[in-house]
Subunit: 416 residues, 2 copies
């Protein structure tokens, strides 16, 4: 038995029973106070982060990694502002979605309740520590945070400030806790901590997600792997298609809702691909094409089967010509990761069929896959983007951090 997990898990579980009973006002007060305290301890936080940064640089970590790890005054202010935004969101807990009488005159209602204790396993991104603490608290959940080892100094000081501020405002002790042991063994035990955890949300790269899915006995919400396609149909407005493609591929290539693969209807391949090849090359995008599409793009290399299954996270695009809508849908359902898929078309029936037949969390007609995001959807927050079908799909906000219970009000009814 892992001592830290056992202790913090038990405390979190106990705290969770009280968290579900707090008023919205109590939770909001704590969130505002947590926000204040983050800003008040700016110097300490940035000093701890500087330690992490120095070690990561010494280890020769990539620039993109360092960028995610870095905290500065502006980012700290954004994190603090994030907590106040969460305070402003509607509290889902206690809402009775529907209530009805059954045949025995029992009044049966479906009441929204917290999930209980949420385990977050994530990489070296200290902002996740603050985001997750805020979202879990507002939704009435306790949270065990287990971030990557490279952010441990940042995470320790952040979680310490948040937990202390919350406790000062009457949030039960243990409701926000960092697991400080960053060993793999500890992560593995956490994945099997069913006696305390109600759900596990991994956030990070494909490797992390796979490890959690394969090893966890706690129910998992898979997040964030996005091999997203854009299918440019025969009837598409080609300048619209190009704009959506450029936005999807180049606006922020390292994120999960970026576009990774282009499928083009053969009837418009000639007119569309010449233009695409030039424009994307000039934007620094590497093109990996099937044999047919390669003939239209001078700078392209031949794609492997593996390329079509890959989330590049980079300025790379796989390209394929398809003979019709069905082939596009079949390709997407085979190689996609159920994240976000786009059709550009002016054909009503094709739009309808694409919406129904593509198996993904977000299916778009004539818009960029980059909109798959809790804030863009209007949820006001996001804890991750689910790519599984159980519980929640796509961007997850506060409501997706809750479950429900049936409340049944009787007058002595027994079953015949």
């Amino acid at each position: 038995m892992h001592e830290e997990l056992e202790l913090k898990g038990r405390l979190a579980k106990e705290a969770s029973y009280y968290l579900g009973l707090l008023t919205t006002q109590q939770k909001n007060d704590a969130l505002w106070y947590m926000s204040e305290k983050l800003l008040a301890h700016q110097a300490e936080i940035l000093a701890a982060n500087a330690q992490d940064m120095a070690q990561a640089k010494e280890k020769g970590m990539a620039q993109s990694f360092l960028d995610r790890l870095l905290l500065n005054e502006k980012r700290l202010q954004e994190m603090a502002e994030g907590l106040r935004q969460v305070a402003a969101l509607e509290d889902p807990v206690g809402h009775v979605d529907e209530m009805w009488l059954n045949e025995d005159n029992l009044q049966i209602g479906k009441m929204r309740v917290p999930l209980g204790v949420i385990g977050m396993i994530y990489e070296a991104r200290p902002n996740v520590t603050v985001d997750a603490a805020g979202l879990c608290l507002k939704s009435g959940n306790a949270v065990l945070l287990r971030g990557g080892s490279d952010a441990i100094h940042s995470n320790k000081i952040l979680s310490k400030i948040l937990a202390a501020a919350a406790e000062e405002k009457g949030i039960p002790r243990g409701a926000i806790a960092l697991i400080e042991d960053t060993s793999r063994q500890c992560a593995n035990e956490m994945m099997r901590l069913n006696r305390y955890l109600d759900v596990l949300i991994p956030r990070g790269g494909a490797g992390l997600i796979r490890t959690v899915v394969e090893n966890a006995t706690v129910p998992v919400i898979e997040t964030g792997i996005g091999n997203c396609h854009i299918f440019v149909d025969e009837s598409a407005d080609l300048s619209m298609a190009l704009a959506i493609l450029i936005n999807g591929k180049t606006q922020r290539p390292g994120v999960c809702n970026a576009t990774e693969s282009l499928l083009v209807h053969e009837k418009i391949a000639d007119s569309f691909l010449n233009k695409v090849g030039e424009t994307l090359s000039s934007l620094g995008v590497e093109l990996r094409c099937d044999e047919k599409s390669k003939t239209y793009m001078s700078s392209a290399v031949l794609a492997t089967e593996e390329d079509f299954a890959t989330e590049f996270h980079d300025l790379i695009l796989s390209v394929k010509i398809v003979s019709d809508l069905s082939e596009a849908v079949a390709h997407i359902n085979r190689y996609g990761t159920k994240h976000s898929e786009v059709i550009v078309t002016n054909d009503y029936q094709h739009a309808q069929l694409f919406l129904r037949a593509v198996d993904a969390a977000c299916v778009y007609v004539n818009a960029s896959s980059r909109f798959s995001d809790g804030f863009q959807f209007g949820f006001g927050a996001e804890i991750g983007i689910s790519t599984q079908k159980l519980h929640a799909r796509g961007p997850m906000g506060l409501k997706e951090l809750t479950s429900y219970k049936y409340i049944i009000l009787g007058q002595g009814q027994v079953r015949k």
Copy 2:
């Protein structure tokens, strides 16, 4: 790689893409035809079941086991009628729960869609084969059925008839499939069949559920373990409490929503427990009591800690005196299995607090736990009762066999 799983898994996955596009009428026609065909093949089915029964008797299986395995004319008619009832239920697929405009004027809708391919792992209850096939089909899901080895002859003939009837009515081949290999190794591989299965629903005893939760990498919905309590509060109407207790404990002791444990407020222990002891003993119920409550009940034995954590599935009741509502809630949250919990009270505030504070799928005031059931709740069907918090909680009907996707309709929007 397990050949049968690979083949049937792949077919089911392919079928699932078409199943989601079928009209309600197509699915209902198939359900009616499946119902007809079951009745038309009555002789074959009963002969196959007789084989299973003979083998089970030879192995010396318990009477309750044999009872669950047995098919007869009446039960077959009920199963056939069940399929027609499923046909009559509302089809959840395609329903758009809500649709809104985001700040960029994107129209975002939440559309109900099938889960995809559902794996059912269950014990020797041939009726589950028919129920699950019907519910999965109506909700647009393909299903891989893996029943217990003792029902294999029954399951083979039933699934063959159902699959053939469905196919004749245009349901894609492979949508309903029985995994005929009943080895443990096959079950274990099925639990890790993520490439084809979207969700796994185990139905059976605590051992089966635990095995699936511990070994599955496919998302699981835990079902059916019910250590259900009744708390008789100080202000309870004692004759109502006794009626609810008798109903919960004795009406059908072998099911998951039966009452297993009685908690009594100390202030009414004297007046209530004397009566309970006599009445329950006369009904053949064995009482396992804590020290205090044992003094009121002459026939009782002393309960162990283990007894309070046990779902007896039998005419046994654990009994404990508590000093107040808080102790009752804490006991339930500690020993309960998050299934169904009852308070009998006339105190408004106690009722309210119990409803909020008890962590269970179904929380009752003044009614029997035996109502926790999809039919009793008015869902018209039930695939199981979830005791986890992810995805679905409590009785699961057709809607709980679906997920959703976001459909996003644009006019060329890109993200700034």
